[in-house]
Subunit: 363 residues, 2 copies
């Protein structure tokens, strides 16, 4: 196996150039002679790293000045809880959730701990195979926020439109597609994403918060759970995950300098997804894509074969061919091809060819 | 500068062998051909890593079977809050705190968010220059827990005895001296420590919890803030900081195989501290150690020079000599020598010689 043929759903592939630079930095940073793992988070060197990471994100995503960008620990799962703690608890209002798959259902459950959380659309009834349109949503203008997940990593469903009402703050978990293509940041009050898909290694999450929304936050929370503390401290309230943020900075630099930004990245990602779906669609009776066609994700392609023993064979043979990480999520089974930014077009081509070949032999 | 002369207070020095192995793993793990940063947290490889990390900790610290060991994100600062959320909130009892320095004061402030937190001894009155004895503590047998910090990293004060009453669960932040010498785990209900002193890089914290104590925990908390969730999920409730845990595993392996355990490590640490204090004590009017003699830390040696310009000179000249990270904490100023496990006896010898030389030239 190798880093170039890694289709894992997360922690996912990272660019080879980034891995090589990070590897050297673990031995010793050229700038300091000391390992990146042993650098103080209060050093000028790290302040520069975190500033560049933020600035690269601001440029890549065209983030307006009235949004804060912070780096947090605890992954998206902690955001599932911090969101309702900060913006639902004690409000006498309700929060709204679109439940479109495994991860948005988890976010909803954590919302219920903190107040009245309401499901405005539930995809479970259709086996999480489709996404809603605006008419499907039971929205109310006095919700404290509306939450959704832009790409359901487990089921392979991706929103191509932005849901919600104008006056209700829109919150989105973009863990598996942030930085994969351009985003209209100004439509959102709060976007969060853990790093281990398109941003970097696990251990850090990015939060992009509109200032006006932050001002509404609950002010009685423990420091570590209060967004304002982390904003005020410029992401160094306590010792941050220095290495994870450093690698995230390298990834954003790669996107900026090698790829040329998110429009270019989005076009490459579209071509990669078309290659794999194209291969699967050569026999839709054999390769059964989980999501209905209009909702197919560019990031995670989820499918089944006619029976479990063929799926087992697919996994074994793909591994022998050097393709890594094609097993489906443990909750749903089957197979999954994840095509995060660092998966190259060549890798997608190689896999698509092999998918057709597997069909020829076993179809 | 180099990794061998790193006296930084944290993130601190790590063993050279560990840095070299971690560096290779970032490029590609020999076992998988894939970077450690891109390995799935659900892989057998990572399950082995986390199991070995736990087992090494259990052996090194002689942790009894009725204690859980879990790996968490958020550093000690999140533990400052999770402790009172789980064990104070909603109890109708009070929690007790020994406030002996910068970090224990922070822990106390977070306790106050969740219920009645009471200071049983306050070292601020004596400028955080000493630690209490048992008679100094205003303890009550019906406290829900007693919290203290075993080593105050900022002021350089270290407990040499274990405070508390038999029937009150004892909780300790051992962030800056866990794994530096043996610990009587069975005296404690809960020990926590972030990694970036003696355990590994930042991004992970270790929690050691007595099963009987965990059973008392508040059951209405968000999943990510509930110790039982993390225990049940064996530290993989959500995507953990894979790389930080991997390096922690390497560090515990180094302690086990190269150092030979915590008694051996403790003896080396004692000798290192004696060397530095010995050098400082050659002129106690010039080198003014912050803590009173019986409370001097083996991990963090905090001192001042007669005036700020001499302190500036000390920092500049020490850096020129290749000694890294000797500045004091921003809250207190002055100078600080941190002697975590990975700082070698040779490094301590070199620094102690230079300390005497600096005195000879400027004393």
């Amino acid at each position: 196996m190798s880093n170039t043929m890694n289709f894992s759903a997360g922690p996912g592939a990272l660019p080879i150039e980034v891995l090589l630079e990070a590897s050297k930095a673990v031995e010793a940073l050229p700038e300091t002679g000391i390992s990146v793992l042993c650098m103080s988070h209060r050093s000028d060197w790290f302040r520069d790293v975190i500033d560049e990471a933020e600035n690269n994100l601001r440029k890549l995503l065209d983030i307006p000045d009235n949004y804060h960008v912070i780096f947090m620990q605890g992954g998206s799962s902690l955001q599932f809880s911090m969101l309702p703690m900060n913006f639902l608890r004690g409000t006498n209002r309700h929060a709204e959730y679109i439940v479109s798959g495994y991860w948005s259902a988890k976010a909803f459950r954590e919302g219920q701990f903190e107040g009245e959380a309401k499901v405005v659309w539930d995809g479970e009834e259709t086996g999480y195979t489709r996404l809603p349109s605006l008419n499907d949503l039971d929205l109310s203008p006095d919700a404290t926020y509306l939450h959704y997940v832009s790409n359901e990593t487990v089921e392979g469903l991706e929103f191509t439109w932005i849901p919600g009402l104008n006056d209700v703050p829109l919150v989105c978990d973009m863990s598996s597609n942030l930085l994969a293509s351009p985003v209209a940041i100004d439509k959102y009050a709060f976007i969060y994403a853990h790093a281990q898909k398109n941003l970097g290694p696990s251990g850090v999450a990015v939060c992009i918060l509109k200032d006006e929304f932050v001002k509404r936050a609950n002010s009685t929370l423990a420091s570590m759970l209060d967004y304002r503390m982390h904003i005020q401290a410029k992401s160094i309230f306590n010792t941050p995950p220095v290495f994870s943020i450093y690698v995230l900075m390298l990834v954003t630099r790669w996107l900026r300098d090698k790829i040329g930004g998110l429009a270019a990245m989005g076009a490459i990602n579209r071509r990669k997804a078309d290659l794999i779906y194209g291969a699967l669609d050569t026999d839709a009776g054999f390769y059964r894509v989980h999501g209905q066609r209009p909702f197919r994700s560019t990031m995670n392609i989820v499918f089944r074969l006619p029976n479990p023993s063929l799926e087992k064979l697919f996994l074994e043979e793909s591994q022998r061919e050097g393709f890594h990480g094609l097993e489906g999520h443990r909750s749903i089974g089957g197979l999954r091809v994840s095509l995060y930014n660092a998966v190259s077009l060549d890798a997608a081509k190689a896999l698509s060819t092999w998918i057709v070949e597997f069909l020829r032999q076993h179809g």
